[in-house]
């Protein structure tokens, strides 16, 4: 009986879409308002999905307290109320929400073991969202 459990977390962070691989003009053309030199911010809603058999004793795929602790330590403490661009992960990668999804997936996949991380889905705004399932 494989089921999937999802819990959403919210972080608030600033970022700026910019790459040294492009000229200032090209950065502005590519990233538009998101290239504003002083940055801007979002309330990110991060959905973390864990899959697996439902434990017969607890009725759970994963104990939410365990999931909260892992996400709190590895994701919320690291990114909430921070400038994403200053995190080492984004020193060479643009802090798009695509790259944030991949970064969070990679951080959680090992931290959650032996639980199986199935998917990370991030809403940057109500209308923009991104999913990464590995691979």
């Amino acid at each position: 009986m494989k089921a999937y459990f999802t819990r959403a977390y919210t972080i608030s962070a600033s970022h700026r879409l910019h790459t040294d691989a492009l000229s200032p003009e090209e950065n502005r053309a590519t990233f538009g308002k998101c290239n504003n030199p002083h940055g801007h911010g979002h309330n990110y809603r991060i959905e973390v999905t864990v899959g697996g058999p439902v434990d017969a004793a607890t009725g759970m795929v994963i104990n939410m307290a365990t999931l909260d602790a892992v996400v709190g330590k590895n994701i919320v403490a690291r990114f909430d109320h921070r400038n994403l661009n200053l995190d080492p992960i984004f020193s060479q990668r643009v802090s798009t929400t695509e790259n944030l999804s991949i970064a969070i997936y990679d951080l959680l996949r090992t931290a959650l073991e032996p639980a199986i991380l199935e998917k990370v889905r991030i809403e940057e705004t109500e209308n923009n969202f991104f999913e990464y399932s590995g691979g």
Partner: protein, 139 residues
């Protein structure tokens, strides 16, 4: 493949308790959810079916029919009830969001399949806006 989802809500109380464990063990694993006086949620239930679009009606299924099936098979038993005390499948199984998704699937899969034309694809149960479980049947 076309997926069609009907959303509905129900309100119910529950608690998390494993009768094979001591009170301390239950409280260690389930925290506040182990309070035997219970607590409650407004659950949102999403039932997704899949199938071919009927060339005459343009429907995968008649949504009114699906609504009635969900009401008869699930909501009449779950809504404004205590899940542990009043719903047979939770006399032993703990009414976690995961187990509710599986139980709803088990209640719906036969009537949806028997009607022909559509298959049950997914049951999603939201316990709160930020917590939900998905069940897609036996893999």
């Amino acid at each position: 493949m076309l997926l069609l989802t009907r959303r509905t809500t129900f309100s119910a109380s529950h608690y998390y308790w494993n009768a094979d464990w001591s009170q301390e063990q239950n409280e260690a694993v389930f925290g506040r959810c182990a309070n035997r006086n219970g607590h409650g949620h407004n659950y949102t239930l999403e039932v997704t079916v899949t199938g071919a679009v009927d060339p005459v009606s343009g429907f995968v299924v008649d949504l009114k029919w699906l609504k009635d099936v969900i009401e008869h098979e699930v909501l009449d038993l779950y809504d404004h009830r205590h899940l542990n005390l009043e719903v047979p499948e939770f006399a032993k199984a703990i009414p976690t969001t995961e187990n509710i998704a599986i139980a709803v699937w088990n209640r719906l899969v036969k009537p949806v399949t028997a009607a022909g034309g559509a298959k049950l694809s997914r049951v999603r149960v939201y316990e709160t806006d930020d917590i939900f479980a998905d069940y897609f049947g036996e893999a």
